[in-house]
């Protein structure tokens, strides 16, 4: 258990069984009154943010979060299936949890999955992934400028802006944190 004076920005706590994070924290002590700890808290499952004020006498549940290394196996309907690198146990992650990261998950990719008890909360991909350009307008020969961009798409339909010299069949590196072009790996 934490006591109210342990609270700080970024601390993860458990409220009504849900993992939550303190996103803003303010010590407050009105006039001759008691110390109060005003928090903005984000529910890490629903994503909802709410205000909560703790008295100095209150106790707050700790939140046990663990992350494990997994490898992507296959897609089963709406779920992405990963296997634990040590135990080979499978974890099924719904598309709602994976979100736009689905565009960058490739066969045998190593990922990190954050769990609260047995519930997966968050997936982290390697920062960069190599993908092939499926379609784009041909660039002008000899144009190597990196600051002029044009639209392109991957085989899975993901749209991305790439420099003008990138052609269909080129393999590029994508920053999975931002979903943007990083550099070219190889030409067709």
């Amino acid at each position: 258990m934490y006591s109210a004076s342990d609270l700080k920005k970024g601390l993860k706590i458990e409220i009504d069984g849900d993992p939550c994070m303190i996103t803003n924290f303010e010590f407050s002590k009105p006039g001759k009154g008691q110390a109060l700890y005003r928090c903005k808290i984000k529910n890490l499952i629903s994503g909802n943010t709410f205000d909560k004020t703790y008295r100095s006498s209150e106790k707050i549940n700790r939140c046990s979060l663990m992350s494990y290394d997994f490898t992507f196996s296959y897609i089963d309907g709406e779920n992405y299936v990963f296997s634990n690198n040590e135990t080979y146990e499978e974890a099924l992650l719904g598309i709602d949890l994976i979100g736009d990261l689905k565009n960058f998950i490739v066969d045998d990719m190593s990922v990190e999955i954050l769990f609260h008890n047995d519930r997966a909360l968050e997936i982290t991909l390697p920062n960069f992934v190599e993908m092939e350009i499926a379609a784009t307008e041909p660039g002008a020969r000899g144009d190597t400028a990196t600051n002029v961009m044009k639209p392109a798409s991957l085989a899975n339909g993901y749209e991305i802006n790439v420099p003008i010299f990138i052609n269909e069949g080129d393999v590029i590196r994508i920053d999975t944190r931002t979903g943007t072009y990083a550099d070219r790996v190889s030409k067709r």
Binding site: E26, F27, P30, G33
Partner: protein
């Protein structure tokens, strides 16, 4: 801390001292280490050897008034254990002043003049004062009247979550006045209304800056409050300080008086246009 805020502190301190010197106030110094910190339910003193660091100079000032001084002020460091945040620092500068044969309304006139004087450093809207009774403010923003229906926990929570945030909407200073007698601390009750204490708090930009009383001068009532407070502290598992008998004895000779305590660092913070004490405390 920026160079400009060190200069600002110097300038504001000169203004404050001039404000009091010009009216014939005597600047006093009282002990920082003491045996008997003023007993208040939620204020904890920092130990210093077999003494404590002062949480306020209040009890010494009242002994000076009892000894015949009429207008006194002090600017000095006070210490409160465990108070840290954007608006709190365990060591901070307090301005405290007293006038004999005055009450909290006289002290309100004092602070209006003082704030108007330092507004040359930054306009704090000091020509547009709003005076709200605690009853009015709570009825408007929290939907209940704590006077006569006081509940400590509800009062503190609603003050912080509902009333104080609402005070930010006023363009100028806001004074909350006439507190429930249960939070009188060292204020006397209003002669016409025994459930109300003659106490006010000044808010600037929604930040609590100063606290004032018509001082309680009845030693029997003061002893009763100290003892009740000691009992509450004991129940909460907090340290109980010895009662300052010299102070209680001096109350018998103390004339009616008004007093104000003002947090200098918070005032400087607002004059610097900042929202954290980080901007005005060196070495924090």
């Amino acid at each position: 801390m920026g160079v400009e805020n060190i200069i600002l502190r110097d300038a504001v301190m000169r203004s404050i001292r001039a404000f009091f010197y010009d009216q014939g106030f005597v600047e006093v110094e009282t002990p920082v280490r003491l045996k008997t910190p003023c007993m208040e339910l939620h204020i904890d003193a920092e130990p210093s050897g077999d003494h404590f660091l002062r949480t306020s100079p209040e009890l010494f000032h009242k002994q000076l008034l009892a000894a015949g001084h009429k207008q006194i002020f002090e600017i000095g460091k006070c210490f409160r254990r465990g108070e840290f945040g954007p608006l709190h620092n365990p060591e901070y500068t307090m301005l405290e002043w007293y006038r004999t044969h005055a009450d909290y309304m006289d002290m309100l006139a004092d602070i209006q003049a003082l704030i108007s004087g330092v507004s040359k450093y930054r306009n704090l809207g000091s020509d547009d004062w709003k005076i709200l009774t605690v009853s009015e403010a709570f009825l408007e923003y929290a939907g209940w009247d704590p006077v006569g229906h006081y509940n400590e926990d509800r009062f503190d929570m609603d003050l912080v979550e509902k009333v104080e945030p609402a005070l930010k909407q006023f363009p100028g200073p806001v004074v909350l006045i006439d507190y429930p007698i249960e939070v009188a601390a060292l204020a006397r009750h209003k002669p016409s209304h025994p459930l109300v204490a003659e106490r006010w708090e000044l808010y600037l930009c929604g930040v609590e800056i100063a606290n004032a009383y018509s001082e309680l001068t009845d030693p029997i009532e003061q002893r009763r409050r100290f003892e009740a407070c000691a009992g509450q502290r004991r129940r909460l598992g907090k340290e109980v300080y010895p009662i300052d008998e010299a102070f209680l004895q001096s109350l018998e000779k103390m004339p009616p008086a008004g007093g104000v305590a003002l947090g200098v660092d918070r005032l400087l913070m607002l004059l610097a246009g900042a929202d954290s004490l980080d901007a005005v405390l060196s070495f924090r």
